[in-house]
């Protein structure tokens, strides 16, 4: 995929690369913290949207907030663009650098600074992985709620930048609902602290503006997040349906009944097949659609909730209902779902969509997506968080075939436009990045975008942070 315009690099900045690397080494003198050789830099040229690649001038991996402040001050003075990076798992090119930018990675800042079980908060350096947070507090019965599929690798920094979600967000909310405070470095090097262990902050909700700002406003180096006490137990069940529409209706039926499960995940037939092959989760292979519904509570409560869900589901005539019988089976069921993207990646290149739709339009939209993909002669596999209407159609294509590449991108754009047309949005948890940048005018008017860009101006007046992302290039002429 290569149809998105990338601004021409600034030749003068490119010419100064050696000097820039020298200065970065002066600011961050520790060994292996400035990556300047070609092989090393290659690790930073893309993220999980691998179709777009740009070799940065250098990557710097500071070990303190103060170092990041010094790096940004230097870049600000010299008008050098900066792209912040967590683990580089962004699916929308959010961490892709530009040739005339440096990458500032937070991966070496990954410590747990403080945990308070009284206040149910954890203060962390943002290079910690998402799973690392939960792993740290699990022995005491707690967890950090947002759980993106990439949680083994992705960092809290990336989660904050993209306002990441995950399968269990149906009950517990996304990143912005689970963060209480941040320490952030602005582009001019100013270090600001917002919020803390309190449940709200004084003044404007800057935290709300910052979370999900896709590395456009600053680099977050520390954060205080809420940690929650885990339920006594949790158990998933599988429900198979002969039609996608029945599965969709069943989701609406469950939500409308007054039960909010922890998660309701949807997989269509192609996805089920691939994931089963990968994870041996015992998924039924002869169904058109599969739902994974998870509930939690005490053993008795789980039985009760699963019985309630089953009662509702039966109205929609599932061909299979199977309740997990053991922790191992539960783990396998989730392994299949959480490794879905990887499993499909083994058989084909794919383009992962992230649109959100009103739940009531689910069945109809899935049919329409199939038609769109048929029209482009591309296969689609649907795996998504059904409870909150967050679709992840995976459009399969061959990355080595330029015609297919172009088709996949166009097909994806049509799918996302469809999501907006039915009352939804372009992205529910992956972010806009570079991938959906040029689709923004389908969801927002120029006035809407201008108000957003004015906030960008507040935080980063020179537009040096994560350039060429989020806002269509032509929309920026508003001033």
């Amino acid at each position: 995929m290569s149809s998105l315009a990338i601004p021409e690099p600034d030749a003068q900045i490119l010419d100064r690369r050696d000097e820039i690397v020298r200065e970065l080494r002066r600011i961050v003198p520790q060994r292996d913290c400035v990556v300047a050789d070609e092989d090393g830099r290659r690790a930073f040229e893309t993220d999980a949207l691998t179709a777009y690649r740009q070799m940065p001038l250098a990557a710097v991996l500071p070990t303190t907030t103060e170092q990041i402040s010094e790096v940004l001050k230097y870049c600000h003075r010299n008008k050098i663009k900066v792209v912040a990076r967590g683990a580089g798992t962004s699916l929308c090119g959010g961490a892709m650098p530009l040739q005339d930018s440096i990458v500032v990675g937070v991966s070496k800042m990954n410590r747990v600074l403080d945990v308070s079980y009284e206040n149910r908060t954890a203060r962390l350096q943002t290079g910690i992985t998402n799973l690392g947070i939960s792993t740290h507090v699990t022995p005491d019965g707690f967890f950090y709620a947002p759980d993106p599929s990439s949680q083994l690798a992705c960092t809290l920094a990336g989660n904050l930048a993209m306002n990441s979600g995950g399968a269990h967000c149906l009950k517990y909310g996304v990143t912005t609902n689970n963060v209480l405070g941040v320490k952030m470095v602005l582009m001019d090097g100013t270090i600001i602290e917002i919020g803390g262990e309190e449940l709200d902050s004084p003044g404007y909700d800057l935290l709300g503006l910052i979370v999900g700002s896709e590395g456009q406003f600053g680099i977050i180096t520390e954060a205080t997040v809420r940690i929650l006490r885990a339920a006594e137990g949790a158990r998933p069940m599988l429900m198979g349906f002969d039609s996608v529409a029945s599965a969709g209706d069943c989701v609406a039926g469950i939500i409308g009944s007054g039960i909010i499960p922890v998660a309701i995940e949807f997989m269509d037939k192609p996805a089920v097949r691939v994931c089963e092959e990968f994870a041996k989760a015992g998924y039924p292979l002869d169904v058109e659609a599969l739902l994974i519904v998870e509930v939690e509570g005490s053993e008795e409560e789980i039985e009760n909730l699963l019985a309630r869900v089953t009662r509702i589901a039966k109205k929609f005539k599932p061909s299979v209902i199977r309740i997990s019988q053991s922790p191992e089976e539960s783990a396998a069921i989730w392994l299949g779902r959480k490794s879905a993207f990887g499993a499909i990646g083994r058989i084909s290149d794919y383009y992962c969509m992230d649109g959100v739709i009103p739940l009531g339009r689910l069945a109809e939209v899935l049919v329409e997506i199939s038609k769109i993909c048929d029209r482009y002669g591309l296969q689609v596999s649907n795996i998504f968080h059904a409870g909150d209407g967050n679709l992840h159609p995976l459009i399969l294509y061959n990355a080595n075939d330029p015609v297919q590449v172009e088709k996949a991108e166009e097909c994806g754009a049509e799918v996302l436009k469809l999501c907006v047309e039915v009352g939804g949005c372009l992205t529910g948890e992956h972010g806009v990045g570079i991938e959906k940048r040029d689709l923004m005018p389908f969801q927002y008017t120029q006035t809407d975008l201008i108000q957003q860009m004015r906030i960008k101006d507040v935080f980063d007046p020179d537009w040096l942070l994560n350039p060429a992302k989020v806002f269509p290039l032509e929309a920026r002429t508003y001033q």
Partner: protein
């Protein structure tokens, strides 16, 4: 106070604000007016009210979403939701009675503009966490939208959160869309009596750290418990600590039992049944615990484990009484009337224990003479001013309501 502008639709709202901007004529922005006496007094010749921007614009119970024009009274939204056994889970508080107004006058727009969340905030998030979409007009008269009607949305800068808690100083909301949740089938409240603040916060934190999904925890000083006016609640001179469980009725026996065991070391546990629980927590929503009081009222947000120390420090210098909500993270304090409403001591305690404080009730001259909202760090104050300018460069929207320069 002269004319009140009451736009009937978004076009009229845009036109009114564009004109005010061109004339550099500041406006006080109000919804139902129930919170007019909070904040620094706004001294403008004109006023703009959203009272004619009313009506539910969308309600899909099966999708857990409702939308309404910003001037719609909150009580109408709640009535519509109740028909489907749904509610705004963050149980917005009603400051009206505390400020000498009738209850139930607030508008839905103001709920989000002030981000005042009730006791369930600790479990389900605050008002700002339930705002899915907003349409609003900025101080230039430009209509813009952010978010939408779906449950997840990370498309672009999150202006929904940006407008939450901005007290009408950034834009006038015309329409809001929010997430709703099913009402719990049943409610029970465990009570502990006579605990000191420190021990009570310990009990609340222990309860929140259990797997029984408490939806609220509060601790009331004895006189506050008495002011709740519930028979059998208060015992002479004893504090009351209340812990709320909500779920399917069949789950609550187990949960209440297990929680009771866990908290048995804190003393004898009493219980409020479903109806009594609802009465108690509804009274919390209108801050009934300060009924009859005439002192200044502060709202203090602090790390739960520091709350009791903060109140103890205050009590050493001020005649005050307190109610802890949010497991100790939110403290309502009433102090005896004085020239500075106790601000010096409150600010000193905040400096020592962290958190922030807002003066909620005090006479206008008192509010005009001090920082009603917590002063911001210089770097954050600079950003705040620039954000204000990005929405309202002419400074026409509620000037001075939050801070003197915004």
């Amino acid at each position: 106070m002269s004319d009140v502008i009451c736009p009937g639709d978004e076009d009229e709202l845009s036109a009114a604000l564009a004109q005010a901007a061109s004339e550099k004529r500041p406006l006080e922005i109000i919804g139902g007016g129930s919170k007019r006496d909070v904040g620094r007094p706004v001294q403008t010749a004109g006023r703009l009210s959203t009272e004619k921007l009313t009506g539910v614009t969308l309600y899909e119970p099966n999708e857990l979403v409702i939308g309404a024009m910003a001037g719609t009274p909150l009580r109408e939204i709640e009535k519509a939701l109740a028909k489907n056994k749904q509610h705004l889970a963050f149980e917005p508080i009603d400051l009206g009675p505390l400020l000498g107004e009738r209850p139930g006058q607030g508008s839905i727009g103001a709920v989000f503009a002030t981000n005042l969340s009730g006791s369930r905030r600790i479990q389900v998030g605050g008002a700002r966490d339930h705002l899915l979409g907003v349409r609003a007009v900025n101080g230039l008269g430009e209509l813009f939208k952010s978010g939408g009607r779906v449950m997840k949305n990370v498309t672009g800068v999150d202006l929904c959160r940006g407008l939450s808690g901005s007290w009408g100083t950034l834009a006038v909301m015309s329409e809001v869309t929010m997430k709703v949740l099913p009402c719990p089938e049943a409610t029970r409240t465990l009570l502990l009596r006579g605990l000191t603040d420190e021990v009570a916060v310990g009990a609340m934190c222990a309860a929140m750290g259990s797997p029984f999904e408490l939806s609220a925890t509060a601790h009331l000083h004895a006189s506050c418990a008495a002011a709740m006016g519930m028979e059998g609640l208060a015992r002479k001179g004893q504090t009351v600590t209340a812990l709320r469980l909500e779920n399917f009725a069949s789950f609550l026996d187990y949960r209440a039992g297990r929680l009771g065991e866990k908290l048995s070391a804190f003393g004898k546990i009493a219980e409020l049944d479903d109806e009594q629980s609802k009465d108690f927590w509804n009274a919390m929503r209108v801050l009934k615990f300060f009924d009859g009081g005439e002192g200044a009222v502060w709202r203090i947000s602090v790390g739960p484990n520091k709350g009791a120390k903060l109140v103890a420090a205050l009590s050493a210098h001020l005649d005050c009484r307190a109610v802890y909500d949010w497991s100790g993270g939110l403290i309502w304090v009433e102090v005896a009337p004085s020239r500075d409403a106790g601000a010096t001591e409150v600010r000193r305690s905040i400096a020592e224990f962290g958190g922030h404080a807002t003066l909620i009730r005090a006479d206008a001259p008192v509010r005009a003479g001090l920082e009603v909202f917590q002063a911001l760090d210089p770097a954050v104050a600079t950003l705040t001013k620039r954000i204000k300018d990005s929405f309202d460069p002419a400074g026409i929207l509620n000037p001075g309501r939050m801070y003197s320069d915004i």
